[in-house]
């Protein structure tokens, strides 16, 4: 063992109680930091994964991103227009199949047309406003997880009856409808039709499960009272993180409003960023507090060891050597604390992941956690740097001691 390490180890070993308290401080700091990071990033990843799975990665709707410009705006640099009613526009995406075919040539992923509609569902004397989504069962599985969310029936069940509908299981439960129940749908456009429940699904999102029904494209077009209408093209990209760029390009190409999942959930993603800033601030604060313990022990040791420092310097130990001794003591405390903190953090994370709870928003009843080496390395890095800083100042003070002052005092 090198001389410096030997002296440092002897110092900390002979102050076992104080050293253990300092190590416990670092262990707690590192442990809780790892647990918090695992919890925060785990829930964030889980949230994003669920979001990405539940929603289309890109949604192209029949709205225009820019409002239609008036002829006067085109001709003149500045025009003031009063009392103008916008021209009535026929809803739906123009030539939807041609648009889809054009996009399919370059978009890395799958596309499907759909019709978004609102209707009042009537059954057993109850009236509920629901979202009716017209889909193509053959391509739906490529863009959403609806097929895997089916509780009763399959997507192909929509072909089983004319005007067939798949209901969210909570919606079905709320109105008491079962498979083969006949319900009535009344659209905002005035269309009224009888529909047969051919299956139920469970997405895990309460809002969706309570207020959504899926029908064939054709059925939704009847509800919208417009043959061939497609008012949404849904896209699932191979890499969800590429959605924003692809969405922008689709918008430029088609002129329609194209929204990626990131754009649709911008507020939530901003909140996640803010949450991360908060998390790392708290984690930093925890480790900073832990470093006070290290500072305390190293300060105590240097204070107690003033005479020994004078002896070592009088023997001919260099200033750098004296400083290194106390810095190594701090690093020893930090390192042992960090390694124990890994175990503590892992156990805390395991414990947290095993806790069960209920949330009104989804079915997930275990706290999602993320086991990442990054958290362990980050916490260790911060703990070591904190220990180093905490040890540096007492070490510097120790190295600056003038041996004669102490020797005179002792004699």
């Amino acid at each position: 063992m090198s001389l410096i390490l030997n002296i440092a180890w002897t110092h900390v070993r002979h102050r076992a109680r104080q050293t253990l308290v300092a190590i416990a401080g670092v262990t707690t700091g590192v442990g809780f930091s790892i647990m918090m990071a695992a919890m925060m990033e785990g829930s964030q990843d889980d949230f994003i994964r669920t979001l990405v799975d539940a929603l289309p990665h890109i949604s192209v709707t029949d709205e225009m991103r820019e409002p239609t410009r008036q002829p006067a705006d085109i001709v003149y640099r500045a025009a003031e227009i009063h009392g103008l009613t916008p021209e009535a526009r026929r809803p739906g995406i123009k030539n939807p199949m041609a648009t889809i075919a054009s996009l399919q040539s370059w978009v890395p992923g799958a596309l499907t047309p759909s019709v978004q509609s609102k209707a009042v569902l009537r059954f057993a004397g109850r009236n509920l406003t629901i979202s009716v989504v017209g889909i193509d069962p053959r391509t739906e599985a490529d863009v959403s997880n609806l097929a895997t969310h089916m509780r009763q029936g399959t997507l192909a069940s929509l072909y089983r009856a004319s005007n067939a509908i798949l209901l969210g299981d909570r919606l079905a439960g709320k109105i008491g409808a079962r498979v083969n129940s006949n319900i009535t749908l009344a659209s905002a456009k005035g269309a009224i039709m009888s529909a047969t429940v051919v299956g139920t699904f469970h997405s895990g999102f309460r809002m969706t499960d309570e207020t959504t029904g899926y029908v064939l494209l054709k059925t939704a077009q009847i509800l919208e009272m417009q043959t061939g209408i497609v008012n949404e093209i849904r896209v699932r990209t191979r890499d969800p993180m590429e959605a924003r760029l692809i969405s922008e390009r689709i918008g430029e190409q088609t002129g329609y409003k194209s929204i990626s999942w990131q754009e649709a959930q911008e507020d939530l993603l901003s909140a996640i960023t803010l949450r991360n800033v908060l998390m790392y601030t708290i984690v930093g604060a925890i480790l900073l507090v832990a470093s006070f313990g290290t500072y305390n022990i190293i300060s105590t040791i240097t204070h107690e060891k003033t005479r020994d420092i004078a002896i070592l310097k009088s023997l001919g130990f260099r200033t750098q050597t004296i400083r290194s001794i106390f810095i190594i003591e701090a690093v020893l405390v930090g390192l042992v604390g960090a390694v124990l903190g890994w175990i503590f953090g892992y156990l805390l994370t395991r414990g947290l992941a095993s806790l069960e709870f209920k949330t009104p928003f989804s079915d997930y009843n275990h706290l999602p956690v993320l086991y990442s080496m990054k958290h362990y390395l980050l916490a260790t890095g911060v703990a070591l740097v904190s220990s180093l800083v905490a040890g540096y100042f007492p070490a510097r003070a120790a190295a600056r001691l003038h041996p004669v002052d102490i020797i005179r005092g002792a004699t």
Binding site: L3, D308, L315, G316, T319, V404, I407, T411
Partner: protein, 235 residues
């Protein structure tokens, strides 16, 4: 024969609201194999002079030459290197590190110099301790030894790197008569048998009279620097 240590017009003033002069205009030369006593009344500057000669302190003016080399132009690390390799210190209190065994204490300067491996340093430390009659105590810590034994360990540590000069500040000041006699014998043997130079600050005029040269300091000045006659030594 060239001088081991040479003080040239050394003055040490402690700065402060009222500056205090510890040592003033000291000129002296220390040759190999000398056995020197520095005497003087309390507060006369004996220890201050010793610390200056041992490079533990820097003179305000003047220069200390070790082996003919000026030390005032040296960096702190260079002075530390000279202390480690050329000078051994023994203080009034043993100043051993309490957590380490006496063998480890003696091995410390050797390990710091880095010329010997840890194992070789330990072996040499054990040999040194055995030569001072402490072989059986080599695994003990300083608090397990008597005052005289501790001071013998301190002498062994001072000899660790085989320096030509041992500077001792009241080495027997805290010892009883028997231990004083033992430690003094060891210091004398260092000169007579091992060819070292020993410079010791002492209040004990009886001991001083048994040494070869006596430097008397009064009010920080050299009052007398003379050879102790053989008659005085025997007396």
């Amino acid at each position: 024969m060239s001088a081991l240590i040479e003080a040239r017009g050394v003055t040490k003033v402690l700065s402060g609201i009222v500056p205090v002069t510890l040592v003033q205009g000291i000129n002296l030369t220390i040759m190999p194999r000398e056995f020197i006593a520095i005497t003087g009344p309390s507060g006369s500057g004996k220890s201050s002079l010793l610390y200056l000669l041992g490079l533990l302190d820097l003179p305000t003016t003047g220069d200390i030459l070790i082996d003919g080399r000026s030390t005032t132009v040296m960096t702190e690390d260079e002075r530390a290197e000279v202390r480690l390799s050329r000078i051994g210190f023994v203080f009034q209190f043993h100043f051993l590190l309490p957590e380490f065994s006496i063998t480890e204490n003696v091995a410390l300067p050797m390990r710091a110099l880095g010329k010997l491996t840890s194992r070789a340093a330990t072996l040499r430390a054990e040999e040194l301790l055995a030569s001072f009659g402490l072989g059986d105590h080599r695994h003990k810590t300083p608090d397990q030894l008597s005052g005289g034994q501790r001071q013998r360990v301190a002498v062994a540590r001072a000899l660790a790197n085989d320096p030509p000069v041992i500077l001792a500040d009241e080495p027997t000041g805290s010892l009883d008569t028997l231990a004083t006699s033992q430690v003094f014998s060891i210091l004398r043997d260092l000169v007579v048998l091992r060819g070292k130079t020993v410079v010791a600050v002492t209040h004990d005029l009886n001991l001083a009279s048994q040494m070869h040269r006596r430097i008397h300091v009064v009010d920080g000045r050299l009052a007398n620097d003379g050879v102790v006659t053989a008659a005085a030594r025997t007396h």
